[in-house]
Symmetry: C2
Subunit: 474 residues, 2 copies
């Protein structure tokens, strides 16, 4: 307790303007015009895609190397000034906001693919490389990086937030696809969390501790990532169902049957309508699964056939599938634009995204109860789900000037989390905690586990300068 | 620094006999004859399968519930007495030894499968359940637990040491197959590291932090494990090769081609000879791959065919494969008995096992250099390898009464680790650190990362009572 109290006193030391000014002066001396304090740039580096107001940092710095980041952290540590890593700014829970001020470290210039080891199915990249840029780089290698959270996020940000997305049911999430990280710690030391070997049992798993820690334990300056072979054949398809339950039960049976499905995505009827409006698809406006199969020609044909049989058992169909790339692309572009397409449902509305994840067996119940709650709340909120993982998203379309509507939407979001937690689920499957979901962590993890997280945070960041005000409050 | 010094003083407090006597008295009052202090039982709970001498605990306690474990830890914490979790005692690096004395917590009586959630492909078990007992329990469910480290280890021990084994290339290691853990912390609090949802991004990954922490951060009292569907079809096969390089290159090409191979095991010629002697197999005594394919009838046939084509390109063959269970069983039993079979090479010898893991592209080089070193060292040491992961084992057959031979064998083991580290590999792929490999961690991780591990250890176990003297020295 004495230790905790001592640290609390330390962290509650004001981030006073004088200290920040000193840090900025030192940073400017070191980095010149790579330190930016223009209002517009600072605001752009605060988060803007949640309920949470924009909280801009005091400055933005653009490092070009691990040594630069180390120098920035050392300067900020000396003056007790927060550091907040910034990738592409696509996070959804206020991860890049600066509630205590400080310095945003923008990885725009650290965007190089440093090595591709084709024989080892891995690559080494800087954190500012986006997933699309990496896959573009890999184009002729026969390899690809499978994690696809929708946005063209930076790989550093994806590691920091434990991103996943549509392919996770087959390829896992960032926790499964990061082999090692180079990290600058709060004390200015640089560590490598692991070697490049595919597996290890040599000590604590610092890699997985850093993945999903949202910059609160250290700043990622290099990533070694697992790559996958581009499948010889890919087929995709769509399958309408009479109900959400039928979609979910089909997904459970598909996974239990061992079909190595690459993508199995749920769209509720409202989401299908939005996609139709936006992408002119002409799909029947009912609950629907979008599928993708990866393998050899023979195996994707077999997988598709077996899936079709399972879907029919649950009243789904007709299952139409296509191996032609242009058809598949149209379908998956529509899925990727699902969020965007929602504007077509209510032009001018604000769009707030949230997600939860529950055990697969509870998914149908959770989604249908949520649909009923959406209706009762008089909120427009289509649902998409990574149904193979039990993970689904609500996109709330809201008139932010209507205080009553905002209140109803917030209450709906709270109940969504409570519902997921009551079903042994989590308050977020892939969006992360940021500022937005901190309030749910005690209910999810219990006070003792949350205290363990705080103890780890204190041990690695006693000054509380690493992205403070996210995940655990000190 | 003041904090660290304070903690160091605390941990250096003697584990004095009086404190231990008080703890044992309190334990006996609480648990009666479930506290055992007989010499034979204590020695059996010290580790006996390494170079390291047996260091028995002061007592062994047999808890029956999480609450029992919590009570044991609280009593031991009060008296500053170490606690050492014990599963089946099959670990290979002195994990269960008691260098500072203390209490071994034997999970023999916590051996219940608490729940199987077939729809969610998971189960909840107590830590004393062995992997074979779990698979026996699952027999009629269509599901199985794939991780197979060879020994019939307890699942608690497998989680604690981040076990993997022959199936890891397809199904991952314990880090990939543990969904959540119930853990008693050093402060006596019980935490659940995660919910039962398949994925989450809600805070620090306490699950992965505990997996592989070898009881030094907390004691696992319950595990939620991912299960897999029993494949519809399984085929196995063997393929001799002209050289180790050809084996390794075939493995790389197989994995790159995207064949979802379930097992791909390397045996060097000496290991094949041992298996022949022990299991009467009549195999050609050359480098060899043992394979297993999981899928549908059509897909295992296709996988086998494609593998055969790849092997032929590297001069391997004939590749003979079998879907008949009795043939496959004979083959895999021989592989499982590989370690045991080595006694046939040198009856009466002591057997010391060690392992390293390197990037796949370096495997051939690492194995052939190691073979040359074995020869130069005049040590009998067959090699088996989980070649899809870049992980291989040496089994050193040694006359422990021959001081010169022991010295040469130890030097060989040291050079093996140095070789692996020089190739961006790890000092252990799956055996863990225990006492035996602590000395390599600084070379592997660097001082800053090791200091971060020590900081985490101190934060969660300031008294250093959780399996002290393993992984990080405080």
């Amino acid at each position: 307790m004495a230790v905790a109290a001592a640290i609390d006193n330390k962290t509650s030391r004001a981030r006073d303007p004088a200290s920040i000014a000193k840090a900025l002066a030192a940073l400017t001396a070191a980095f010149g015009n790579r330190v930016v304090t223009a209002q517009a740039v600072r605001e752009q580096h605060g988060n803007t895609v949640t309920w949470i107001p924009n909280q801009p940092p005091d400055a933005v710095v653009f490092p070009q190397s691990t040594e630069d980041v180390q120098r920035i952290v050392r300067i900020c540590a000396e003056h007790n000034v927060p550091v907040i890593p910034f990738g592409t700014g696509t996070s959804l829970e206020g991860h890049v906001n600066a509630p205590q001020g400080g310095v945003s470290i923008d990885f725009r210039d650290m965007d190089k693919v440093l090595a591709v080891h084709a024989e080892d199915l891995d690559c080494v990249v800087e954190p500012g490389v986006t997933r699309k840029a990496l896959n573009e780089h890999l184009r002729d290698s026969g390899l690809f990086f499978p994690i696809d959270p929708g946005a063209n996020a930076s790989l550093g940000g994806m590691a920091a937030t434990r991103a996943s997305g549509t392919n996770a049911v087959r390829y896992g999430t960032m926790k499964d696809n990061v082999i090692a990280l180079k990290v600058v710690l709060a004390n200015g030391e640089v560590i490598d969390t692991a070697r490049r070997a595919k597996k290890t049992s040599a000590g604590y798993d610092l890699t997985r501790l850093m993945v999903g820690s949202e910059g609160t334990l250290g700043i990622v300056t290099q990533l070694t990532l697992k790559l996958s072979g581009i499948p010889e054949a890919v087929s995709g398809g769509i399958c309408p169902f009479p109900s959400i339950e039928a979609c979910c039960n089909t997904a459970i049976a598909t996974i239990q049957s061992g079909i190595p499905i690459a993508r199995i995505e749920l769209l509720d009827a409202l989401q299908v309508r939005a996609c139709n409006l936006h992408s002119n698809l002409g799909l029947p406006e009912t609950s629907m699964l979008l599928l993708e199969f990866h393998g050899t020609e023979a195996s994707v044909a077999e997988q598709s056939q077996r899936f079709g049989d399972i879907a029919a058992e649950f009243g789904g169909g007709p299952f139409t599938w296509a191996t032609r790339p242009e058809e598949r692309t149209k379908l998956w572009e529509a899925r990727h634009h699902a969020a965007l397409s929602n504007f077509a449902l209510r032009p001018g509305a604000a769009m707030i995204a949230t997600d939860v994840c529950v055990p697969l067996s509870r998914l149908a119940e959770c989604v249908t109860q949520t649909q009923a709650d959406i209706e009762a709340s008089r909120i427009l909120a289509p649902i998409v789900g990574h149904v193979g993982d039990g993970n689904f998203h609500l996109t709330l379309l809201i008139d932010m000037d209507d205080a009553d509507e905002v209140k109803r939407a917030k209450a709906l979001s709270e109940r969504l989390v409570e519902r997921a937690l009551a079903m042994d689920g989590t308050c977020t499957g892939e969006h992360g905690v940021g500022q937005g979901k901190m309030k749910y962590l005690e209910a999810e993890h219990g006070p003792a586990a949350l205290a363990a997280m705080a103890a780890i945070k204190r041990a690695l960041d006693p000054q509380n300068i690493m992205n403070p005000g996210k995940i655990v409050a000190l």
